[in-house]
Symmetry: C2
Amino acid sequence: MKKEEILEKTKYYSSWKSDYNYIMSIFSFDLETIAPKAASEEANKAFARIETDYFKVLKSDDYIDYVKEAYLRRDEFPLEYKRLFEMQHRDYERTKNISPELQYEMSLLFGTSYTKWLEAKEKGDYSIYQDTFSKVVDMTRKILSLRGKNKGTLYDICLDDYEPGNNEKILDKFFKEIKEGILPILKKVVLSKVERREDFLEYSVPIPLQEKISNFLLKFNEFDTNRGLLSTTEHPFTTFPSENDIRVTTHYHENMFTSNIYSVIHEGGHAIFGQNIPHKFFTIGLSDNITSAMHETISRFYENYIGRNPHYIKHIYNKVKEICNDIFSDVSFDDFYKGINIAKPTLIRTDSDELTYCIHILIRYELEKDLVNGKISTQGLNLEWNKKYKEYLGITPPSDKEGILQDVHWTGGSFGYFPSYAIGNAYGAMILNRMKEDFDFDKALEDGDLLKIKNWLKNNVFDIAPMNDPNDWILKITGREFTTKDYIDYLNEKYSKLYNF
Amino acid sequence: MKKEEILEKTKYYSSWKSDYNYIMSIFSFDLETIAPKAASEEANKAFARIETDYFKVLKSDDYIDYVKEAYLRRDEFPLEYKRLFEMQHRDYERTKNISPELQYEMSLLFGTSYTKWLEAKEKGDYSIYQDTFSKVVDMTRKILSLRGKNKGTLYDICLDDYEPGNNEKILDKFFKEIKEGILPILKKVVLSKVERREDFLEYSVPIPLQEKISNFLLKFNEFDTNRGLLSTTEHPFTTFPSENDIRVTTHYHENMFTSNIYSVIHEGGHAIFGQNIPHKFFTIGLSDNITSAMHETISRFYENYIGRNPHYIKHIYNKVKEICNDIFSDVSFDDFYKGINIAKPTLIRTDSDELTYCIHILIRYELEKDLVNGKISTQGLNLEWNKKYKEYLGITPPSDKEGILQDVHWTGGSFGYFPSYAIGNAYGAMILNRMKEDFDFDKALEDGDLLKIKNWLKNNVFDIAPMNDPNDWILKITGREFTTKDYIDYLNEKYSKLYNF
């Protein structure tokens, strides 16, 4: 193959991939936001069809010959190409033993699984979903076992797929540090005599007012509303159909207005990351070469290090008072700030505070590890879930809706994703400390200068993301090896101040 | 090819087509409702890609061999299959000289054209769009001239494509009757001394209230909200992505609440038709084998014969009073009914009354006929448009927004579609008279028994639609040949009562 031919094929396939990814993302977005449930079966069938047709092209001789040759000769090309060729080859290795028939079966199963999960969640009854969930776990194990020779466990493959270089040994150590760092702080918080107003967190805020708050926050945080949009869904997510079309979703609860606020800030963080990837990476097809932990670093950076900082909350407070004046007339800024930062064991991960958040992840990590490795089954897994919540947080879900059915991830076989949130928290604390060396972070928040923060992130964090695996990325940003120290120190400092210990 | 093989391929391709049509419809729906404009270029490119890939399958040897063989042997199969094989063969004949490259070029052009039209319409300036529009006309003429030997004009092909059997000669006669029937009535109306309240038609009605009215109307008319949804767009349309996912769109104007009402009733009519096609036609792939005129018959049946009937308007009136009580406190039912049925020359087709509606169509018919046949060019076509409005209706658009840029149809090369609305009006009057032989139509409307009407339409009109070309269809429904008489009689009777002549 001539070098020109490799370049030609790169151009062709990158353009082809972005076209199909655009279309599939929109279809999937539509399904998770507005599509009538009555059409789920037809929709799942259609989606499985296009996903499989896409997969068939990736299995074609033409594509595989190109991928192999480009990979072998990657050193002849500029760095971006080299990176692309490595990524393509990694993906090829991951799927080379999977047939289009199996891919179709899997797509169809994951589609059905989502529909079934929605139904079960609505009814708060895991037994409705368990049978389908078993099939999802079996399919995941089957796919993983087709990966060829593997030194570790099946779950090791999941972890490495999400964050190249990770495995159970590394993550066991990581979660041990997280657990030993957080639980003692939580204990002190729970024993603390400090009291906070919580009543206003349940004040009724009509959805049209909450929508205004959402729109304010997205703009305030420098989300480009011309190149994306906000919609609603059951389980908020962000999707990246195309360079100029990046979509945020949220979910409104009339009696829990902060749920929307922190969803929007979190998902907005993902979107801001996506909107600020340099154009050249879209052209070559590397724009989505960002791991989950890298993405969660940014979304949780916005949600917590920015979003729960007193200076930032001051802006939220002012805007909320402006939009819903009568509703919060008896709430002072001090009430507001401290109420939002209450730490205590709760049931729902996405609505939990900064301190307990990683305990929610720890529970999911322990369960999914055993599930993928075949040490436990889906039978009675809701009870296992509840047992762990009792053990770590001392509370029990009233139904499976607030228990095992709360998250969407496992329904699509995304085992190994959850740790990304915890790793992202730890990465974020390291990035925060590095950022503070360059400018006064609190002052920027006080000034409402989110552009300064975004620009710093763009130059130091976003721009280099597609070219680096997560460990190299954090090293290049901070000059340091990955550690949980910054994160635990941050939590200690924050909560000792808030709870006087 | 064995008979079983033909059946097998029929099953495969029907399923394949419905999957891809589902996906393409959703993408296109998204584009026309919520997609960020900044992504238009990427979106158009993606859409052209999938449309062309779809087209390539229809050009494959496997598909063409199957289509030809099935067509030759159509008499060996049950009637539904025979019909499908005929339709497939007709489509094959239409596209056999079009290459995938030309298809791609056309898709891309029509996508860009829509984007450009939106921009020009917003600015009310035809000159922004004219250059693109020229390309659309040229492309349309090129595609038509590739159709092989043709006895008539290029526009004859357009007409036959939309309504098999139609041609300029038939339509010239049809529009002559329409013109000679309607203009004298309009003259009497314009000269009439009868005065009507029009002020309340411009009362400001907040969009959330209008949304409530929309939802009421869709349900009241028996649209199944579990199997579809309502969204908003620039130019209202209905789309039929799948059997259980049929979507209506509308457009809200705060100072013209009836515009939404009649859009929703009209588009809801299309949707009710789509939702009531027998299941078997979806399975075999004949569900969308319904011509534009057949579809417009039903949408305009709901909009006018039902929607502008006094008994029906009584229900709208009561609901509008209930939802926006304070706003219409000074409006009596008599004001309301007569105000809605005011007939007078206006500029916007979709908001025009029953009487002048077909004059709007006549103008488009005369222009598009000459345009497609190459007798006039797009240069100065906005002025030609204005001239005809002056000639037939005595009024002139203040800008191209209310003139030539008001409609979306031509932007996607849909020349020959407009006559469908006028034909649909005439079909509808024949159907109305036939329906009245079976039950008391006014009584059903008075009782709000829209189910009775829907069921009659289902049994007599919808069920036989996919199996018949329009002329056979109307003959089977009414036992009579197509005529404009019922329609003109209806208008005469209605407006002589309203305007005392």
